[in-house]
């Protein structure tokens, strides 16, 4: 069993989700609140990455981040190591590809918030940032959780982009989804089945725990 691959996948999924929260929450909040007319353009662009087949997106990202590209070259000068075929490269690609799965549900959740609750918090002297964390985030929780779950699960299963950027290097960039793919391709269905079963069981446990725990929150919702 390729435990290394499983660990790497979980790390990648966790890191991707964390980055998406950090980037996606402010972006989504802005999208939900701005009255700027160009908002629809940004929303449409955010959704675009998933329109391309992952391998193809991966190829373009590979070119964009490769050592021949300005980004890749700059990175290499700074860190003495290329961006592609590294965990950092994988992370960037995963974040890009999973962006819509996080930002869209976040933005939808913020859009339906009752603004007056925010106003009430402001009137209590609570700053905008604190209000965001203490009022908006808990109230938008079902949508935020959806974004987290979709990003995390999708990164676990992602394969095309990761293969392209990562190069399938055991212990470094071979994720469990690539491992399973390889097993299927090698007609080793038994091994593929075992690895899939472990991945599914792990994911199921994580998801179940998440949903069971969130019930507590959700009970707060339906404002009677």
């Amino acid at each position: 069993m390729d435990w290394q691959a499983i660990r790497l996948s979980v790390e990648l999924a966790a890191a991707t989700t964390a980055v998406l929260l950090a980037l996606g929450l402010p972006l989504a909040y802005w999208l939900a609140r701005t009255r700027w007319r160009g908002r629809a353009i940004v929303e449409a662009i955010v959704a675009l990455p998933i329109v391309l087949p992952p391998t193809v997106l991966g190829f373009y990202v590979l070119v964009a981040l490769g050592p021949a590209s300005p980004v890749g070259a700059a990175w290499e000068r700074l860190f003495g190591q290329g961006l592609v075929f590294t965990f950092e490269g994988l992370l960037i690609a995963s974040v890009l590809y999973s962006l819509p799965f996080a930002v869209q549900p976040f933005a939808a959740a913020f859009a339906t918030l009752d603004r007056r609750l925010e106003e009430a918090a402001w009137c209590l002297g609570v700053g905008r940032l604190a209000t965001f964390f203490k009022v908006c985030l808990p109230l938008a929780w079902p949508g935020v959780l959806t974004g987290i779950v979709l990003s995390f699960a999708h990164t676990l299963g992602e394969f095309g982009v990761v293969l392209m950027i990562g190069g399938n290097i055991p212990g470094e960039t071979r994720t469990v989804s690539i491992a399973i793919y390889d097993e299927v391709q090698a007609l080793d269905y038994a091994a593929a089945g075992r690895t899939s079963a472990i991945l599914l069981a792990f994911s199921f446990a994580v998801l179940l725990a998440t949903y069971a725990l969130q019930r507590r929150f959700v009970q707060a919702w339906p404002v009677r």
Partner: protein
């Protein structure tokens, strides 16, 4: 009206050769329409096991066809060898790596930080690449620099994008128009087991007659000539 229509499932490394074969076949048999689907042989195997509507399967190796014959899914319980692939080491245009003079030993150069190969777990060219490196006594030294593509096509892309500095790919690919600008070194055949490529006509072929006709064309003189032009051995 056409006498027949067949769909060919062909290994990705055959892309350029088979496109030309089809064009030539069309001249000979305008009554048969040939559609080709390129992809991973492993996927085709899985699909044929579920009776995919392919009339001809040209695998990248001899294992998948053999397994289909074993499973009783091949017409007449027969597979056919149609070519032997050759492994090539390819470096991108502009690279000054002296592959011409040093051969595989050129990979020792410290400028070579990444070497792309197809995944040896399931891709025959990947297996051959590992065998060649082993035979050349470079495997230990270079294994840390390997990156694995899904197939030789992806290995080529790694090099093309300069993400990798050299790659083991099929000779047929190295001589194809998109890669012709680079430099390639044909790995001596003795360094790896022969890359036999075989095919079958699936039992459920919708038009076995037309499929047989295309197979015979492929195995015939005209066909072999085209294949050899694309770097395939007999």
């Amino acid at each position: 009206a056409r006498a027949g229509e067949i769909t060919v499932a062909a290994a990705a490394n055959l892309k350029y050769a088979v496109d030309e074969l089809v064009a030539a076949f069309r001249v000979e048999r305008p009554d048969v329409e040939v559609k080709v689907t390129y992809g991973a042989s492993g996927n085709f195997f899985a699909q044929l096991s579920q009776r995919a509507p392919f009339d001809l399967f040209l695998s990248a190796d001899a294992v998948y066809p053999a397994r289909l014959v074993e499973a009783g899914l091949a017409l007449d319980d027969a597979m056919f060898r149609y070519a032997t692939g050759r492994l090539a080491l390819w470096i991108p245009p502009g690279s000054t790596l002296p592959v011409g003079s040093l051969g595989l030993a050129a990979l020792r150069d410290p400028r070579v930080r990444r070497i792309a190969i197809a995944n040896p777990r399931h891709a025959p060219y990947g297996v051959a690449a590992i065998e060649a490196l082993t035979a050349a006594g470079l495997r230990e030294e270079l294994s840390g620099r390997l990156v694995l593509g899904e197939n030789v096509g992806q290995a080529a892309q790694f090099v093309q994008s300069r993400a990798a500095d050299a790659g083991f790919i099929a000779l047929s690919l190295a001589v194809s128009p998109p890669l012709a600008g680079g430099t390639h070194y044909v790995v001596p055949a003795e360094l790896h087991a022969p890359l036999e490529q075989a095919g079958v006509i699936p039992q459920r072929a919708r038009d076995p007659a037309a499929a047989l006709a295309f197979r015979d064309f492929l195995l015939g003189e005209h066909g072999r000539a085209i294949l050899s032009r694309f770097g395939y051995g007999p």
